[in-house]
Amino acid sequence: MNLSTIPPETLRQHVRECRDLLLANLVMTAETAAPTFGEANRVRFLLDRFRESGLDNISSDEVNNAVGFLPGTTGEKTVAVVAHLDTVFDPKENHALSLGPDRVKGIGIGDNSLGAAVLVTLPMLLRHLKFQPSYNLLLLGVSRSLGRGNLGGIRFLLENSPLKIDEAICLEGCPLGRLNYTSVAMMRGEISIQMPDEYDFSRFGVYGAIYRLNDIINRILEIPRPSRPQTSIVFGSIEGGNTFHQLAREAKLRFEVRSESDEVAGGILHHIRGIIDEVRARSGVRIDLEEIAWRQHGGISFDHPLVQLSRDVMRGLDIPPQIGPSMSELAALIAAKIPAVTLGLTHVHNVNTLEETVEIEPMFDGIAQVLGVLAGLDSKGDLS
């Protein structure tokens, strides 16, 4: 079947007919805990589903990526569909979902259990539509994406897989309309301050770890940030101390530097290192900076055929595009010079909280959009 000729409403209806399969896969994916570095059970589920769907070359690797391969009718190129498997939640949290007529509620459901569930449902959707692409389709459930994972799964694949990927689509649960084709330079770091047991307060003053951290924060805020290229520093989390009346012996700050320029981001990081060195020398406390994650600036252009195709499909389905940079798998693909986009699948509420909820009806648009892009890739040939 030539999907690119199917009217959007018919395509949407085809997806709707697979609702039970999709929702069942969503339940089973989301109820299988997958903290970063602990995705093994979710990978096993994906591999079982890939196997039952009759994919070829089903495999996992040493960093727990799940890979399935659907050979194309001609196989002249390979398109990857990618979803990260990990969530921010501890396996001890209650992973049970609640399913209502219009919504599904459960931790990690939008980020990114839905993306993974759509990935495992894709072979069944293609079969339902009787659509077999001419290109090879590589389904990648990737591990170690979030936080300290630092895109470890996709980077491992790109560095070690013998298979050449020509284009890629990354699936993220939210929001519907998300269209990413660039990534910003980014560095995530954690500054830890520890007062030594034998700390000499008479020499350095009666100041605890929170005071020293506050000093560092004030100094970071003084670093010049250009408006062009757009650059920002985000303080994401802070912790320290235990009581009201005792000086904190430990404090921790997690931050992120973002910029449209690798050089500017690098310059700010250099500056932060200098601040830490100076405060350390001045205060006598132990201060460490751990650099947790890096992304490079890059991307394809707004008028790249893959972006153009995505926008055309979204327009056909009345999905207003929300364009912005991404720091997820797309960044690694872009760094590897693979044209790629990230697409969002539905509306999500309270993302990354215990109340995380996704809407069901918009999913049909979100998935129809993915199928539309896959169909367009078939008819447009090589987009690179």
Partner: protein, 323 residues
């Protein structure tokens, strides 16, 4: 020991039956129909997930079950709306066999299901399971498909992932261990081999279901076991370990009500079988106590274990299934 031999031959783990295609082939070879009944009362939070999982896994992907019916006792929440939105057949119990009237209780729903559903095998699964999985159905159906002499398959839940010693206690919930297993030990020792006699998940052949009475309340499971045992013997039973079942926990007072109903049904059965002779008039009021402003006061609950007769005795049923 008969119990040891039975445990060996008739106790399974659901993983034994992982090959769903083989199960479907066997079902088709025997030309059987299988129905799933989910009795409900205010289960809007969990019912949708159960329907979606069972429809997707056991109807669309592997056509093991032929129908899913939700039979409701009169929910005041959106249970039926949610179930219907995911494609289940939904019924208010009072609308089935209206000539027989309506009694409120889970046992009533299970009994009415025998008339409403078409299956040669009926699987009952409670609606409050939060970790629902297709094993809750195929794990119970499989022994019936593979062992013709098995009539009634009961679920139990065991297998912790890690246990530090070689031996560990294995068994049921609080009411089972405090009431049911001691009663069975006294009067029906062989039935003690059922790990969780009160579990709400079981699969049964129609020819057995239509021959046994149904208490409408808490006593339905225990009376089933006694009736099937006395009529067909221990080897009519099998049991399957379905691993973990996550559901809402009941407080001790609710368990007290449950135990009261179970005890009534048990005494009825034991008396009918001439095993005991209860000479005194038995009260149907459960008394529990609470304090209000430092004064103790009674709370009385009337719990009467009414019973539906074997459905084979109902004319409309015979006309529908044995005409």
């Amino acid at each position: 020991m008969k119990i040891d031999a039975w445990l060996k031959s008739n106790t399974f783990h659901h993983s034994t039956f992982w090959d769903l295609k083989q199960l479907v082939d066997e079902k088709e070879r025997q030309n059987l129909k299988i129905s799933l009944c989910i009795p409900t009362l205010n289960e809007e939070n969990t019912i949708g997930k159960e329907i979606v999982i069972f429809r997707s896994e056991l109807m669309t992907r592997y056509p093991l079950i032929d129908e899913i019916a939700v039979i409701d006792s009169g929910s005041t929440d959106r249970t039926l709306e949610v179930a219907a939105s995911f494609g289940a057949d939904t019924y208010f119990s009072g609308d089935i066999l209206p000539s027989q009237g309506f009694k409120r209780g889970k046992g009533e729903n299970l009994w009415k299901a025998i008339h409403q559903l078409e299956g040669d095998i009926i699987v009952y699964v409670d609606a409050d399971i939060t970790n629902i999985h297709s094993r809750f159905v195929y794990g119970l159906v499989a022994p019936l498909l593979y062992q013709p002499e098995t009539q009634y398959v009961k679920a139990f839940y065991d297998r912790p992932l890690a246990f530090s010693q070689g031996i560990r206690p294995s068994g049921g919930g609080r009411v089972t261990e405090i009431l049911t297993r001691p009663l069975f030990s006294l009067f029906f020792p062989e039935l003690t081999a059922l790990m969780q006699p009160l579990s709400g998940e079981y699969a049964v052949r129609r020819k057995v279901l239509e021959e046994i009475a149904f208490p409408i309340g808490y006593g339905v499971e225990i009376s089933h076991l006694i009736d099937v045992y006395t009529k067909w013997g221990l080897y009519a039973f099998a049991q399957t370990d379905l691993d973990k079942r996550v559901h809402r926990n009941q407080d001790t007072r609710d368990l007290g009500k449950m135990a009261f109903g179970i005890l009534q049904s048990f005494l009825n059965r034991a008396q009918q079988l001439d095993m005991i002779d209860v000479k005194a008039e038995v009260s149907s009021i459960l008394r529990q106590f609470q304090t209000r402003e430092q004064m103790f006061e009674q709370k009385q609950f009337t719990i009467v274990e009414e019973e539906r007769p074997p459905i084979i005795t109902v004319d409309e049923y015979r006309e529908k299934f044995h005409a």
